[in-house]
């Protein structure tokens, strides 16, 4: 039956081509939406995901990574006492302004980490080392900041919060969701630059657990010890941040809406082609019925047509998507293509095409025998 479906599709090449185009259009749009959304979400939690730490301690009810409030550093010692804790690192995230060479200002996010420890610092450096920001007015800037800050190189100076800071290194892959570039500085410099943090305060405690200890238990003990803080596993903090940006900014809804609209448009296109084709061949399907085929057997031809449309459309869309990843990157967007997500999109495409066959199958079920006998 699959073979017959294929023959029917190949028979009317022009119609099949336009159907394929429709499927590719709809599915590519879904791919792009999902890919860009994923890119944005990865960006929103990029620092959490790449920092070597199992547990994050933040101020109570902090919404996400970027909007955490400072709290007293001495909680550091309390955390250190909890059984199962191997190490605790302090880190700071805060907002600041940078002066561009031409005199304009840009907002930046300052990430302060302990240069000797490196936890919370850059993980992939094009130039320099994480420890280069130690003891002085130094920073590491991500290469993606070039769009906002203008061209820069190691050794350049920039004014951050009215202080001359020298660029000591250039990192890779630290693009923020908020579009404000990340600047990495030493912990102590960050305390000064982000004036609302100040001395004796930190923004994060990043905790590593002892090998073999149960993370859940450590989190519970930390929560008991630090009732005024939020204690979250790395994964929880990451998804909390992603969820915040997804929901609060409405990007989630807008992506979802586009995906759903694409889904329905694809369904309509495939549905109406298959329906037209079914009507066109209704006499032959009826004849098959007259010769003993059951509705189920004939439906298999229709479903196969839908499945072929889905598979070919999906494959072409995937190729289009993979080919356009570079294009998106050139445009400053990150598009993520993941196998697991691809499989979900494949299922969606299948579902889209199979649903579209529904009315055609209904038509087959109720073929009026009279049409067979017309000359």
């Amino acid at each position: 039956m699959f073979y017959i479906a294929l023959k029917i599709i190949l028979y009317d090449k022009l119609r099949s081509f336009f159907t394929l185009l429709g499927v590719v259009f709809a599915v590519s749009l879904i791919f792009a939406q999902v890919g860009i959304y994923q890119g944005l979400m990865e960006a929103s939690s990029v620092l959490i995901d790449h920092t070597a730490g199992d547990i994050w301690v933040t101020s109570k009810n902090s919404k996400n990574f970027d909007f955490c409030q400072p709290f007293p550093e001495y909680f550091y010692y309390s955390a250190l006492q909890v059984p199962g804790v191997q190490s605790v690192d302090k880190a700071i995230i805060g907002w600041g302004m940078i002066r561009q060479q031409n005199g304009g200002q840009e907002q930046v996010e300052i990430m302060g980490y302990q240069p000797d420890r490196g936890v919370g610092g850059p993980w992939d450096l094009k130039e320099g080392r994480p420890s280069d920001v130690k003891n002085g007015n130094f920073m590491i800037v991500d290469e993606s900041a070039v769009k906002r800050l203008g061209a820069f190189k190691v050794g350049d100076y920039r004014d951050v919060m009215a202080r001359r800071i020298q660029i000591m290194g250039i990192s890779r892959g630290v693009k923020s969701f908020t579009t404000a570039p990340y600047l990495f500085t030493s912990y102590s410099l960050a305390q000064e630059l982000v004036t609302y943090v100040g001395h004796d305060n930190t923004v994060f405690l990043i905790i590593k657990t002892l090998p073999g200890s149960d993370k859940g238990t450590v989190i519970r003990l930390l929560r008991e010890k630090l009732p005024a803080m939020d204690v979250l596993s790395k994964e929880e903090f990451s998804s909390k941040t992603r969820l915040y940006w997804t929901i609060e900014t409405g990007v989630g809804f807008s992506f979802l809406l586009t995906i759903m609209v694409s889904f329905f448009i694809g369904m309509l296109i495939v549905g109406q082609t298959i329906y037209n084709s079914t009507i066109e061949h209704i006499k032959e399907y009826g004849t098959m019925k007259a010769l003993g085929a059951s509705t189920a057997e004939i439906s298999r031809i229709i479903v196969s047509q839908a499945a072929i449309n889905a598979l070919v459309g999906y494959s072409v869309s995937l190729l289009v998507t993979l080919a356009s990843v570079k294009m998106y990157e050139a445009g400053g967007m990150v598009m993520v293509v993941k196998t697991s997500v691809n499989l979900i999109i494949l299922l969606m495409t299948m579902l889209m095409c199979l649903c579209s066959a529904f009315y055609s199958i209904k038509k087959i079920k109720n073929i009026d025998p009279a049409i067979l006998f017309r000359g």
Binding site: I4, K7, I8, L10, Y11, D12, H281, K283, E284, G286, T287, M288, K289, A290, L291, G292, A293, S294, T295, E297, P369, A370, L372, F373, R374, G375
Partner: protein, 229 residues
């Protein structure tokens, strides 16, 4: 077993308050090896009767037995199996799948009947050879003449290997010569394969070929005149 036994078989079409009696209380009995002509003017109920005999249409009254099996009491879901086992159709409009080649059209029926592909392939070639289309197996239906298409349909009906063959105006779209060829094939089929072949037609030019002729008028069966042999 007798291929067809119908008693007081009738069909009334209802469309809103309008009732059309297409077949009214028909009694018949068709035997194997017979080529039966079902004559009658247009609108006399021939197609409706064939549809009922072919289990494509549910009668509104009477009983129908095919090969000793009561059909009227069967559920809709059991009918495909009956059709698969006993019945084959030939239509005025041929009803071949345009995207499939001649060969594939014939193979399709055997595929439906789960006949082993090797056996089916052999059979399809033989049948197409027999109807004179051995050299056109890979043609599409649109590349054939009407007479050739009807011969494909006959090959298809034969491939189904059904003991009851129902043909509705099989010569209706054919010229005299092609029509005769087709009818002669059906006659051979009845006599050599011992099939029961029922041909609904109002084509009087082929009158002489039938073993038996039954006539309908306004849904009723006229008294039968047996052909002297």
């Amino acid at each position: 077993m007798v291929p067809v036994v119908a008693k007081e078989l009738s069909k009334i079409y209802r469309e809103g308050s309008l009732e059309v009696t297409a077949v009214a209380s028909v009694d018949l009995e068709f035997q194997s090896g017979e080529l039966i002509g079902l004559f009658g003017p247009s609108g006399s109920g021939k197609t409706t009767l064939l549809s009922m005999l072919g289990c494509m249409l549910k009668p509104t009254g009477g009983t129908l037995e095919l090969f000793g099996q009561d059909i009227t009491s069967l559920d809709e879901r059991d009918l495909p199996a009956i059709r698969k086992k006993y019945i084959s159709f030939i239509f005025q409009g041929f009803n071949l799948f345009p995207p499939l080649t001649v060969y594939e059209n014939v193979m399709l029926v055997m595929n439906l009947k789960r006949i082993d592909p090797m056996v089916a392939d052999q059979r399809a070639r033989e049948l197409l050879e027999a109807v004179g289309l051995g050299k056109r197996m890979n043609f599409l239906p649109r590349e054939l003449s009407g007479g050739q298409r009807q011969r494909v349909a006959i090959a298809r009906a034969l491939a189904a290997d059904a003991p009851l063959i129902l043909a509705d105006e099989p010569t209706g779209n054919l010229d005299h010569e092609n029509g005769r060829t087709v009818m002669e094939m059906l006659k051979t089929l009845a006599s050599e394969q011992n099939c029961c072949v029922v041909v609904a037609t109002h084509d009087n030019r082929i009158n002489d070929l039938f073993d038996r002729v039954v006539c309908m008028e306004d849904g009723r069966m006229l008294p039968e005149k047996r052909k002297e042999t």
